[in-house]
């Protein structure tokens, strides 16, 4: 027993020893790979430059003064005149700053004592030798510097150069004095401008990211998606519905846009439509979607309602385009009048532009979603109401069609990316393969059984999000610089995209960890999925969502300071430029600005979090 114990402990000791050895080996290799070398650090050359850079960094290029320069000349003879007559030298004017040279004449190479009086206290300035009789001569030799004490007095020695003249020559002391109030340097102003750009870049990226990540986070939550199941008929039909609906929606909304163009130049037409369309839309929707109905309406009534909703939505899109037109017209009209607030007009203009671009996309997505869910419902009912054999036949047809559509679209994407140029490879082959896979699925799936569509959507979303998340925002910025040009807009897009994907992950994990009880209770009342999310999920996830959004804003501010390294705008551009120009004092200003912004962001977000979460 005892032997067993001791051998076990010996074995443990050996294991521990091996682990320590392995650790040593790993770290030794790490040292060699990362080239750890303190020899270099100790070398004099390195230390010198390190000291120099550190000292410049400690003196940020932040404020400057207006300078007043004063020149004090004092004559002397080099060498001494033959008769030693120094009477040509006038006595110094002792009411202002003056210099006394002893002796007043000397041979070249000899040292004279220079003493200054009545200078401004505690300043430095150069002291030079001016050859020739003209004291204003710009040729100056030698360069020492003087430093006055608290009383404005200095004493220094000066070695006379080899310039011989019979005329009196001069020693010149130049002093410059700061006058007036301190003011910011150009560098400080640039830094301010860029740091504002940086903060707003982060703000916009966070806002855009949050808005888009919010709906996506529910699709990426396992607990919500797990129960989403549909029979194959419904899945196939809604897969067909998406592209058809998107195409139709884009086409229709685009047509509305084209129809709107001649009307949108007149500001009154804009105004009337912008005011009228919401009312029409509201009343149409109020009529067509009664808040509560105990009895199901007749079929003809439902058809009329669908029609009314459809027309109401068309009117709403018309209203969107008119709103964009109105914003454009107003912004063009008032830009001049606003003066320094012209950026408000620009904002309005850009927003109207964005509205004009996203409205057809919105229409495409809405129509795609509506058609897909409508066809999905029809599929569901078909699968429920018909016999197994008939459902199987229907499944063969639609599953093949859906497979062909999906693979055909993938083929089109491949063609666009790689420009293969053979229609049989990029169209017919994928369509055939897709159709075959669809047929196989229809053959093997139980006709009435449900498929885990929710989990498929969940997995696809997760995969895309994780793949995009692994690309750093800095790398994304390079792509966007190519897409939209160098500047803060590219940086904002890159940060925005990265914000979406990381927030989707963080958000959806919060959704996955909510309490299931309320979810169950709301489902039990007969609420549908959308209502369950709104009433049971969202109230539970709001506090963590706010907290993650703030955290992300924090990250975005930090990221936006370096996104300029690759041309993404913001302060990083300035910082990198100054470092490359070895202008460390300017770079130091930017570093301080970054530190202040990051620290205050940290403080603000912690205060807000404490207050609202």
């Amino acid at each position: 027993m005892k032997d067993k114990k001791s051998s076990a402990s010996a074995w443990k000791s050996i294991q521990l020893g091996l682990a320590v050895l392995l650790g040593l080996f790993v770290y030794a290799y790490g040292f060699s790979v990362t080239k750890v070398n303190l020899e270099e650090l100790r070398s004099e050359r390195r230390q010198e430059s390190l000291t120099r850079v550190t000292r410049t960094l400690a003196q940020p290029d932040l404020i400057t003064y207006d300078k007043k320069e004063a020149i004090v000349n004092s004559p002397l003879y080099v060498p001494c005149p033959a008769d030693n007559n120094l009477s040509n030298i006038p006595p110094a004017d002792t009411s202002a700053a003056y210099v006394v040279i002893t002796p007043a004449c000397a041979k070249p190479g000899e040292t004279v004592q220079v003493e200054g009086f009545n200078f401004p206290p505690n300043i430095t300035g150069p002291i030079r030798f001016v050859p020739g009789s003209d004291p204003q001569n710009i040729v100056a030799l030698g360069r020492e510097s003087i430093k006055t004490d608290g009383d404005g007095h200095f004493t220094t020695s000066f070695v006379l150069p080899n310039r011989i003249s019979a005329e009196p020559q001069h020693i010149r002391v130049t002093i410059s004095e700061n006058v007036g109030a301190p003011r910011f340097t150009q560098n400080a102003k640039d830094t301010w401008e860029k740091i504002i750009e940086t903060v707003f870049m982060a703000l916009l990226a966070t806002t855009a990211g949050t808005i888009l990540a919010f709906p996506l986070s529910f699709i990426a939550a396992r607990n919500l998606m797990k129960s989403v199941r549909a029979p194959l008929t419904g899945v196939a039909l809604s897969v067909l519905g998406w592209p058809i609906g998107m195409g139709l929606g884009y086409f229709i909304v685009n047509q509305i846009g084209i129809f709107t163009i001649p009307l949108s130049n007149n500001i009154f037409v804009n105004l009337v439509s912008v005011i009228a369309t919401p009312f029409i839309f509201w009343f149409a929707i109020r009529w067509a979607l009664p808040q509560e109905e105990t009895k199901a309406p007749a079929r003809s009534m439902r058809l009329i309602r669908v029609l009314v909703v459809f027309i109401a939505i068309l009117i709403a899109f018309f209203g969107f385009f008119q709103l964009a037109g109105l914003a454009t017209n107003i912004s063009l009209g008032i830009e001049k009048a606003l003066g320094p607030f012209g950026f408000l007009a620009n904002f309005l203009f850009q927003v109207s532009d964005i509205l004009r671009i996203i409205t057809p996309a919105l229409g495409a997505f809405a129509a795609g979603g509506v058609l897909a869910s409508f066809l999905g419902h029809i599929g569901q009912r078909t699968a429920e109401k018909n016999t197994k054999d008939r459902v199987k036949t229907i499944n063969f047809i639609f599953s093949a069609l859906a497979g062909a559509t999906v693979f055909g679209l993938i083929g089109a994407l491949v063609e666009w990316l790689y420009q293969i140029g053979h229609i049989e490879y990029t169209f017919w082959a994928p369509v055939l393969i897709g159709a075959m896979l669809g047929l196989l699925l229809a053959a093997f799936a139980q006709p009435k059984a449900t498929l885990p569509t929710g989990m498929v959507v969940y997995s696809i979303t997760r995969t895309i999000v994780n793949a995009l998340r692994s690309v750093e925002a800095l790398v994304m910025a390079i792509v966007f610089v190519i897409a939209v040009g160098i500047g803060p807009f590219a940086g904002m897009m890159a940060l925005g995209l990265h914000t979406i994907v990381s927030l989707v992950k963080l958000y959806s994990e919060q959704v996955e960890s909510i309490m299931p009880g309320p979810l169950e209770a709301i489902t039990a009342t007969g609420a549908n999925r959308l209502q369950t999310i709104i009433y049971a999920v969202i109230p539970q996830v709001i506090p963590p969502y706010i907290s993650y959004t703030m955290y992300r804003w924090d990250i975005n501010v930090r990221m936006s300071t370096i996104i300029g390294f690759v041309g993404g705008g913001g302060i990083g551009f300035l910082l990198q430029q100054n470092i490359n120009l070895l202008n460390y004092r300017a770079a130091s200003t930017q570093m301080i600005a970054i530190a202040i912004v990051v620290a205050s962001m940290d403080y603000i977000s912690s205060v807000l979090r404490e207050k609202y979460v």
Binding site: I285, L289, P290, Q291, E292, E293, T294, H377, Q380, R381, E384, G517, P518, E520, A521, I522, T523, A524, T525, G526, A527, N528, L530, Q531, I534, Y535, A536, P539, Q540, I542, P543
Partner: protein, 250 residues
């Protein structure tokens, strides 16, 4: 009339929660479901409104097959079945009135839910239900600021908002003290007797069963081991239901 026929539920892990359970509940009855923890009471109640999908068997309610209902039909059936939970299952961060209004979600048009809008009649109805359970003054408080007994009243008000024909109560008083338990049970009794709502209520304490239930069914390891009147539970039956080593308390 609710008819449960040969109901079996086997969970994904292979656990047989219900084993061939059959019984009937006439309209307007107060049925107690008793049994040990893990005997399948919760699963049984959740099968009736399909929060849990049964593996086999049939549930007929007034002749309509709940087990075969499509999602759309299920929504219509569920809104007529109120449910009350042991842990109340309120949405903590929402207001009491919002929690009560949620009972109306099966009736309102989902499009309007996006905007968090309820018809005016529903708002009035919600206040009326809160008055009925005696906490109308708490309507604007957050649900988690209420005590346990008050939270369960909100739960009942939410179920009442559904204009239910049946209420499923899953151990509604198990996390409340005896005094509160009686007050909650009295609310359920009143709903049962006054409004004629069928109540299926799982309970732990036999004195509550004797006091409130018209009839009792008992489950043991997923099997129906007793069906009858509360007074019929003698010592022998008690041991059948709760196991040989169990002792009666209360």
């Amino acid at each position: 009339m609710l008819q449960v026929k040969n109901l079996t539920k086997i969970y994904d892990g292979g656990v047989k929660a219900l084993d061939n359970v059959s019984f009937e509940v006439p309209k307007g009855q107060f049925l107690a479901v008793i049994g040990l923890s893990g005997s399948g009471k919760s699963t049984l109640l959740r099968c009736i409104n399909r929060l849990v999908d049964p593996t086999e068997g049939q549930i007929l309610w007034d002749g309509e097959d709940i087990t075969a209902a499509s999602p759309e039909e299920m929504r219509r059936i569920r809104r007529k079945i109120g449910m009350v939970f042991q842990h109340f299952n309120l949405v903590h961060r929402s207001k009491v009135i919002t929690n009560v209004l949620a009972g109306r979600l099966g009736y309102v048009n989902p499009a309007w839910s996006l905007l968090n809008r309820f018809p005016k009649e529903d708002m009035e109805k919600a206040i009326k239900q809160l008055e009925r359970v005696g906490i109308a003054d708490k309507a604007d408080q957050r649900a988690d600021e209420l005590s346990g007994g008050q939270q369960q009243r909100v739960g009942i008000a939410r179920a009442l908002m559904q204009d239910p024909n049946m209420i499923l109560a899953d151990e509604p008083v198990a996390s409340l003290d005896p005094v509160l338990a009686h007050s909650i049970m009295k609310h359920l009794e009143e709903i049962n007797k006054k409004d004629g709502v069928t109540v299926l209520c799982s309970l732990h304490f036999l004195d509550l069963v004797h006091r409130y239930a018209d009839r009792v069914i008992a489950l043991n390891q997923g099997q129906l081991v007793f069906e009858g009147f509360p007074r019929d539970i003698n010592d022998q039956k008690f041991k059948d239901i709760y196991g040989r080593d169990a002792e009666r308390v209360g």
